[in-house]
């Protein structure tokens, strides 16, 4: 049975060192929810508070209506997959998978059939009698997953499960994890620092920094309309530049340091006034024009990198800032370093933030985080 996880005013400290000051979060029943953030942001700490391995200094954790703060970790009915897999090295694959079922005191034949079902599901049934040391990393990860799933947990927790695998296996395993999660429909909390991985697997992502949730939303929304400057720079790449907002003839104009102006039609009403802003422009949101007489920001190409599908240009602007541009590679020749070009903005896509970077000024931000 799957559950909704509600976290209210969670507080975590080690001594006087506050890791998570006051965190509120609701994870919906059956969803694949990812905690994403730089290392040390408190995401693993939060996960371990849910699992019961970290003490909770304040606030309430609920599975549906049951408060679990003081519930023994062994009784929370959680399936957990660890970064180092945590496979019991002295037990065969089968014994590993059966371990949780035996603790539930299920009848013997049921333990066997259940374990076999999940070993087959994870394609590790052929190694059932092997000791873990004779399995590859990917196979061990599958065993860990089978072991976590077969107790039919209310919640699945993943603590950076793919970080010990090589790049190719990582991509393969994340698809496996996502597909399994969708087919069993168990509420899942997944911790990672890899934003691409988070995008690939999640229904919703919570971006954390310094123990505070910055933005909770779908991968698409977090990428396209990040709630604040931190999220926009942490997710994907962004060129961050200072700019100004100016109201001219009732139109809201974005003014770059070099004086280039572009109309913004999606600025929230409360921000429609003259003020300093921070522009966050993804490399693909800068449009490159070889015609130096065209309107736009003047820039000089410093370097270019051809990557097949895309070509990256590194340029510096008239006003001194450096920027990165990504363009689909074209069949004609690459622009040589030293060439002067003009840049314009894809105003529909770029984001602008208040001068302190704390809030996005545009419409379309969907942040489910209550205290953001």
């Amino acid at each position: 049975m799957s559950v909704t996880i509600s976290i209210k005013n969670a507080l975590k400290k080690y001594g006087d060192n506050v890791i998570i000051p006051d965190l509120n979060l609701e994870i919906k029943e059956g969803e694949f929810f990812t905690l994403l953030g730089p290392s040390g942001c408190g995401k693993t700490t939060l996960l371990r508070m849910i699992a019961g391995f970290n003490s909770i200094e304040g606030g309430d954790f609920f599975f549906n209506d049951t408060r679990i703060n003081d519930l023994d970790p062994a009784k929370r009915n959680i399936g957990m997959v660890f970064q180092n897999y945590a496979i019991f090295p002295h037990m065969t694959v089968r014994k590993n998978v059966e371990f949780g079922l035996k603790n539930k005191k299920l009848p013997k034949d049921q333990v066997k059939t259940q374990a076999e079902k999940f070993m087959a599901l994870m394609h590790v049934d052929e190694y059932a009698e092997r000791l873990p040391e004779r399995l590859s990393g990917g196979q061990q990860q599958r065993v860990a997953l089978a072991r976590a799933l077969c107790i039919e947990p209310d919640v699945l927790l993943f603590d950076e499960p793919l970080s010990n695998l090589d790049a190719k296996l990582r991509v393969e395993m994340r698809t496996v994890i996502k597909n399994i999660q969708h087919s069993v429909g168990i509420t899942t909390v997944y911790v990672t620092h890899d934003q691409e991985e988070a995008m690939a697997v999640s229904d919703r992502i919570a971006v954390m920094n310094a123990g505070v949730i910055q933005h909770v939303g779908t991968p698409k929304n977090i990428y396209q309309r990040p709630a604040n400057l931190f999220v926009s720079t942490f997710i994907g790449r962004s060129n961050v530049m200072n700019g100004k907002l100016a109201i001219e003839d009732g139109k809201t104009m974005l003014v770059t340091p070099s004086g280039y102006k572009a109309e913004m039609v999606n600025v929230l009403d409360q921000y429609k006034q003259d003020q300093d802003v921070i522009m966050s422009i993804r490399p693909e949101e800068l449009i490159l024009n070889r015609d130096v007489n065209a309107e736009g920001i003047t820039a000089t190409v410093d370097d270019c990198v051809f990557l097949g599908l895309m070509t990256h240009y590194f340029v510096h602007l008239e006003s001194g800032e450096e920027a990165e541009i990504i363009q689909e590679s074209s069949i004609d020749s690459i622009i040589e370093p030293g060439t002067k070009i003009k840049l314009t903005l894809n105003t529909e896509k770029i984001n602008i933030f208040t001068a302190d970077g704390s809030a996005n000024m545009l419409t379309g931000v969907c942040n489910d985080c209550a205290n953001a």
Partner: protein, 550 residues
């Protein structure tokens, strides 16, 4: 660990351990300290220490001990490092046999080696007589400094061998290749890379050799003659025939602890300067030992191990020789064994086995508990327990024997000569080694494995028993069998504590030697050697590896 601090079973375990350590370790050591400064008439005085330092006869024993022990340490390193290097980096023929024989050498009771060397090189020794009679060469005396140095070096170089072999295995082959790539090969690479990388292990091996050689009582007792070392002095002061001075013996024990403590902390200080961690992804591939170089490598390994192992073989040979008292007669028989049967052979074997099993069980249980407390429940109380348990590491066996005797020699705890006090002494003596290896093993076990078990619904106790302990089993077992051998061959503390009822094989051998029953001694020693050999072979079969953890 969830929620508020709950009352835990581990707190009870910790307090129970602390209580037993206070009773069986802190209290006896306190007694020694007390006896050393409080005179029979109740006055406090440093008179005993003054007595020690005022007479060169006494002070010299310290110099003797330190001098011979340092020499033994250096010679052991010089003998052990090359053989370990050849063994780890080259394909030496019969290398496995060499390794096993080396371990057997350092596992035998030290004084048996000494006794056998006397038989070979002593005044009436076969080699001595052969050289004098046939070749006309005078070998000089094996007694005194030279003899102790010879016997102890040959006994302890295998320790260095075992330690260094472990360190060399951890050197990644790419480091060797990188060094060759930058033009550093041969002896320079050996010095700048291989030995420099192994420095922490060299120091650890040196400390181990120093501690064991310093505390060795049997060898200098048999071979020292005029060259008296510290453990011998302590023993003589306590139980010697001429003098019997409790307070002075206690003062000696305190001085001994101070000397070993200084060495211990000096070693720690030196080790801290070489702190780095390595783990080899690509272990070094052994090269063929070819040509003249290869010949000398083989020669070195074989000759060294042969010399070191010779005394043990000779003892077994002697045990079948006809013998009356101290004189061996021509011809072979089982007369020595028949005599042994009359002289408490069965009791010795029974005691040895029972004490060994009981002590080992207690040691393993306590070591596992301490490891868990220190690694998983670190707090001041548990770290204190760990530190106390480690104290005997720097204490010569004679000191521990003396401490237990002083503490439990009189009411309310009159335990001297009982089976119990022997077990207590053995546990105290050997616990630091096992608890170290148990702690190290547990540190390498990731906490998340235990968490996985808990999240799969296992209780904490069940997790500990079904997950933690089995995972530690390998590390503990490998250490345990060596502890077993050390227990079986223990002499220095036992010699002070035993009596006729609690006599062991080692003690029987020693008694036979000191009473001049050489044939009888050879029989006991041969049995002891067989017991240790079998134990070791079991160990090698069980652990299925060449690695030996001490």
């Amino acid at each position: 660990m969830a929620g508020k601090k709950k009352f835990e079973i581990w707190t009870v375990v910790a307090l129970a351990l602390l209580a037993s350590f206070i009773l069986f370790l802190v209290y006896p050591l306190g007694t020694v300290l007390k006896e050393s400064v409080i005179m029979p008439d109740g006055s406090v005085s440093l008179e005993q220490f003054a007595k020690f330092f005022s007479k060169s006869y006494y002070v010299n024993t310290i110099f003797n001990s330190v001098k011979v022990t340092l020499s033994v340490t250096c010679v052991s390193l010089l003998l052990g490092i090359p053989i370990a290097y050849f063994y780890s980096f080259y394909k030496i023929k019969f290398s496995k046999t060499i390794f096993v024989l080396s371990i057997l050498c350092c596992m035998s009771a030290p004084f048996i080696g000494a006794y056998s060397w006397i038989m070979l090189l002593g005044r009436g020794g076969v080699i001595t007589q052969f050289l004098e009679g046939v070749v006309g060469l005078k070998v000089g005396s094996i007694y005194g400094f030279k003899g102790i140095l010879l016997v102890q070096s040959l006994k302890f170089f295998p320790l260095v061998f075992i330690y260094m072999n472990g360190a060399f295995k951890n050197i990644d082959n790419t480091l060797m290749e990188a060094s060759a790539n930058m033009g550093c090969v041969g002896l320079r690479r050996l010095k700048d890379i291989v030995l420099a990388l192994s420095m922490p292990t060299i120091l650890a091996a040196a400390l181990m050799v120093f501690m064991q050689a310093f505390a060795d009582f049997g060898t200098p007792m048999l071979l020292g003659e005029g060259y008296q070392t510290f453990p011998v002095l302590i023993y003589n002061q306590y139980l010697g025939e001429t003098t019997n001075n409790y307070n002075f013996a206690a003062a000696l024990a305190v001085i001994a602890i101070i000397v070993t403590a200084i060495v211990f902390f000096f070693q720690k200080w030196a080790t801290n300067r070489f702190k780095f961690s390595m783990s080899a992804l690509h272990p070094v591939e052994k090269k063929e030992a070819k040509g003249i170089k290869g010949f000398f490598m083989h020669l070195y390994c074989y000759v060294l191990v042969a010399i070191a192992f010779m005394p043990q073989l000779y003892i077994i040979y002697l045990s079948f020789r006809n013998c009356k008292g101290a004189i061996f007669h021509p011809g072979y028989s089982l007369v020595n064994y028949q005599q042994a049967l009359k002289k408490l052979l069965w009791r010795s074997i029974k005691n040895t086995t029972m004490m060994g099993i009981l002590s080992l069980t207690i040691i393993i249980v306590i070591a596992v508990l301490i490891a868990y407390l220190v690694v998983r429940r670190a707090n001041t109380l548990n770290n204190t327990i760990d530190t106390i348990a480690m104290l005997p590491y720097i204490m010569p066996g004679a000191v521990i024997g003396l401490a237990l005797l002083m503490a439990f020699g009189k009411k309310p705890f009159a335990l001297t000569g009982t089976f119990a006090i022997m077990v207590i002494a053995l546990v105290i003596r050997r616990l630091p080694y096992t608890s170290r290896s148990a702690t190290a093993t547990l540190m390498h076990i990731s906490l998340s494995i235990e968490e996985a078990a808990i999240s799969l619904g296992a209780s904490k106790l069940k997790t500990f028993i079904t997950i933690t302990v089995p995972m530690m089993a390998n590390g503990i077992l490998s250490g345990a069998i060596l502890s077993w051998v050390a227990i079986v061959t223990e002499l220095s503390s036992g010699i002070i504590l035993y009596n006729n009822k609690s006599i062991t094989l080692t003690m029987s051998t020693y008694v036979a030697i000191t009473r001049g029953n050489y044939g009888l001694a050879a029989a006991f020693a041969a049995i002891l050697t067989v017991v240790t050999t079998i134990s070791l072979l079991i160990y090698l079969a069980v652990s299925k590896s060449e690695d030996v953890n001490l």
